[in-house]
């Protein structure tokens, strides 16, 4: 294990650990409004100050991290499974099946996903709790984010389909379904694994984009996207550096994921 990869894993574990400990580290919670201390600078009471309506920024960063780090992997898992099903099967079956599946994938890839998300979000029922809105946001990301991975998996499964051991297994009379589930899919694991890890930072950033547009997680629940909204407008790093903490955290976590991933990619290439 390289030093940087070790550091990256340590950082991710630390961030996860701290966010899990949010109820103990920030007992007042993320929603309470200290209206007499709105937009306050860091103090003993509020380590990272308060936001524009007086909510404790430290608590919001911790809970926002929890949400982003918990649900981005869940969305990544969903999208990877979909990609495995569509891409893996298409690659394995080949021919017209592969062409049809890839046409659908291309269609999905060509869709302006941001506008699609905005449209789907607008069609959702209004009276959903913030927690449901969080789940729906990440569910949408998962359901729409499988396409790139599907293309990779289709190519990988296509190469396995013509491999010697699959031909031999087919010649031995193993049924196609069993062949796919028992012999092909397990051999796609490194690719699936890599795709899963690649998707996590992508979904974290996607949620952040939606949050900045005000279309992500509903108030008062925090997410990295909604926390980054504070940086729109004229915010000076010199005057209010504490406002940049969510941005720094996002960059650190995404970079850490990339460092961890580089190893996965090496394994897949090998």
């Amino acid at each position: 294990m390289s030093l940087w990869r070790g550091v990256a894993i340590a950082v991710l574990l630390l961030v996860v650990g701290v966010s899990v400990a949010a109820p103990w580290l920030a007992p007042a919670g993320y929603a309470r409004q200290y209206r007499e201390a709105a937009s306050a600078s860091p103090s003993r009471a509020h380590w990272l100050g308060t936001d524009e309506i007086g909510r404790d920024r430290f608590a919001r960063v911790l809970y926002g991290t929890r949400i982003s780090l918990l649900l981005a992997p869940a969305a990544a898992l969903l999208s990877t499974l979909l990609a495995a099903l569509v891409g893996g099967l298409a690659g394995y079956l080949g021919g017209a099946w592969a062409r049809a599946a890839m046409a659908v994938t291309d269609l999905f890839l060509a869709l302006p996903w941001l506008f699609l998300l905005i449209t789907v979000r607008a069609m959702m029922p209004l009276n959903v709790s913030p927690m449901i809105s969080v789940l729906v946001t990440f569910l949408l990301l998962g359901l729409l984010g499988w396409t790139s991975a599907a293309r990779v998996l289709c190519a990988a499964a296509g190469s396995l389909r013509n491999s010697d051991y699959v031909r031999q297994a087919r010649a031995s009379g193993i049924p196609p379904a069993r062949l796919f589930w028992v012999h092909v899919l397990p051999n796609l694991k490194p690719v699936l694994y890599a795709q899963f890890w690649i998707s996590i930072p992508a979904f974290i950033l996607s949620e952040a984009n939606l949050g900045i547009l005000g279309l992500g997680v509903a108030e008062p629940m925090p997410s990295w996207g909604s926390l980054l909204k504070e940086l729109e407008g004229l915010v000076s790093l010199g005057e209010e550096p504490w406002k940049f903490v969510p941005l720094v955290l996002l960059v650190v976590v995404v970079t850490s994921f990339q460092l961890v991933l580089s190893r996965q990619e090496d394994e897949v290439t090998a």
């Binding site: 905005i118 607008a122 209004l126 009276n127 005000g214 279309l215 509903a218 108030e219 407008g233 004229l234």
Partner: protein, 537 residues
């Protein structure tokens, strides 16, 4: 030698007499338009940028003084409105020419009115004059006198002419021949509009000097407010109209002498509940929303002082009703903003059969009071207000979900599907006259937001508002109109179809290089007296 001395004396006078250098030497005012002007034709103006250019270039018969809110003569020396409010007779100024030298006469006023009321042109400015079916008649009594008769009474008829820039009936330059202080000299789409002083402008100051003092105005098209603010800080532009409260405070921290808070503006922020009978909502929710007591209780449970202080950093005032206190004549001074009182709100709700069970408010049938408030995504002030209201109403046991939607989706729910429970939006008022709110208050109107296009008024109080609004619109008597509209404001306060939240303050910034600026609450806040501004770099 004698001449040389005289020249020196004149030069010294030019240099040292205050204001004279600016007056004669011109000076260029520089500020930003926040969007591309859609037209230079004053009849077709709808957007803010085109309105700004119309204000700077258009000559009008009468102009409302933005400071005193009184109507003052401009191209008309005097006027007389008939008793029933259908006819107005103007006595015009003589010896006035358009910017291209074409003389101004009653023919130009007649031509302008024809254009204004031309159904084929459908001038948005003309909407205020379309009070009934039939044609408008213009009668030129003499080159300096004209009488205009409308088919039905037009409320506040003389004041409506503040927006009507007079066109030339004879100039080959069409709408580019103007009577205002400036004329369009150059336009680079997406970049700048340059206005030059109108050499034929008729007005002079008390000392007999020709107005305007400025030689030109450069308007940069700049939609990004951050960039506008940075350019102001760098001294590249001289004015910012309607500043954001956060930017106002940032600027005030470093240069307090440059920022101006003129107090409550005409703009309001408000929320309302869906009262549409066919809306796809549960019947028990429709019952809540149609109950005036429920709406009043919510109004009482919202801390408007906190909204003003926290969200707008103190640059807003708790709103009273449909008319801002800034509207000196039409505001009903007997009304006061709703006092924040969650206890009174709970008591009022209990008297309507609601009950608090373990901190959760339930109606008489046991339904938990849960509803959503929609606002437009990207408007940080409304998002913050909605979140604060969510907490305020949480204190009386209500569960509120805040939903931010992109604007088209919000409008579709508001006007097409009626699939919403409550909406929080703002209203930008530009006019003072209650007639400008006619489309909101008439129950048959599309913009009667809480229940649009009612075939007949669905409640007695809406019927009463209809009657009062029509009565004030058809009366030429200002006192009677005021009485009627005061009563409308009282009914709105009692019934609370809109829960008025705050009136934002009119914030602006003016560079130290600009002399003569006196920012006010009415648009255009900083350059309403543009003729008398000077810029010294």
């Amino acid at each position: 030698m004698k001449y040389a001395k005289a020249i020196v004396v004149l030069l010294l006078c030019w240099l040292f007499v205050p204001g004279l250098a600016g007056a004669q030497g011109g000076g260029e005012l520089h500020f930003c338009l926040r969007s591309e002007p859609k037209t230079f034709d004053p009849m077709k103006v709808e957007d803010d940028a085109s309105m700004a250019i119309r204000y700077l270039t258009g000559g009008v018969l009468a102009r409302m003084n933005r400071q005193t809110q009184a109507l003052e003569p401009e191209l008309a020396l005097s006027w007389e409105v008939s008793k029933e409010g259908k006819q107005i007779t103007f006595k015009l100024r003589s010896g006035v020419s358009f910017s291209d030298g074409t003389p101004f006469s009653a023919e130009d006023v007649a031509y302008t009115v024809q254009q204004l009321m031309d159904p084929a042109l459908h001038s948005p400015t003309g909407d205020a004059f379309r009070s009934g079916p039939g044609n408008v008649e213009t009668k030129i009594i003499s080159p300096t006198q004209i009488s205009i008769t409308f088919p039905a009474p037009v409320a506040g008829l003389d004041r409506q002419f503040d927006q009507v820039a007079i066109l030339s009936a004879h100039s080959a330059k069409k709408e580019m021949a103007v009577l205002g202080p400036f004329m369009v000299a150059d336009y680079k789409p997406g970049a700048t509009v340059v206005l030059k002083r109108n050499p034929n402008y008729w007005k002079t100051d008390a000392q007999g000097r020709k107005l305007p003092y400025l030689g030109s105005i450069q308007l940069d098209i700049q939609p990004n407010r951050d960039v506008e603010m940075l350019r102001f800080k760098r001294g590249e532009i001289d004015l910012i109209n309607s500043l954001d409260s956060e930017y106002f405070d940032k600027l005030a921290a470093t240069s307090p002498q440059l920022v101006h808070d003129a107090g409550a503006s005409l703009d309001s922020e408000q929320m309302w509940f869906n009262q549409v009978a066919k809306a796809p909502l549960a019947q028990y929710k429709k019952n809540w929303f149609r109950s005036a007591a429920f709406r009043r209780a919510i109004s009482e449970a919202i801390n408007r002082n906190d909204l003003s202080r926290v969200v707008f950093l103190g640059h807003a005032q708790p709103a009273v009703g449909p008319v801002s206190p800034a509207n000196k004549f039409w505001f009903n001074a007997r009304l006061k903003a709703e006092t924040y009182s969650p206890d009174a709100a709970v008591k009022a709700l209990q008297s309507e059969g609601f009950r608090l069970e373990k901190g959760v408010l339930k109606d008489r049938d046991g339904n938990e009071v849960v509803f959503s408030i929609i606002t437009n995504a990207g408007n940080k002030y409304r998002e913050r207000m909605a979140t604060m209201i969510q907490e305020d109403l949480g204190k009386i046991g209500m569960h509120v979900n805040v939903v931010t939607l992109d604007f088209p989706s919000l409008i579709e729910r508001m006007t097409q599907t009626f699939d919403y429970e409550a909406i929080l939006l703002g209203l930008t008022n530009v006019g003072l006259d209650p007639n400008e709110q006619m489309n909101v208050w008439l129950s048959s109107s599309e913009n009667h937001q809480w229940n649009p296009q009612e075939k007949t008024p669905e409640t007695a109080w809406e019927a009463e508002i209809d009657r009062l609004m029509r009565a004030q619109a058809s009366s030429g008597d200002a006192r009677k109109r005021k009485e009627a509209f005061d009563r409308v404001q009282e009914i709105v306060f009692e019934q609370t179809p809109f829960i008025y939240l705050v009136n934002r303050n009119a914030l602006s910034a003016v560079a130290a290089s600009v002399e003569g600026a006196n920012p006010v609450i009415l648009a255009p806040q900083t350059y309403w007296n543009v003729e008398r501004l000077t810029v010294k770099r």
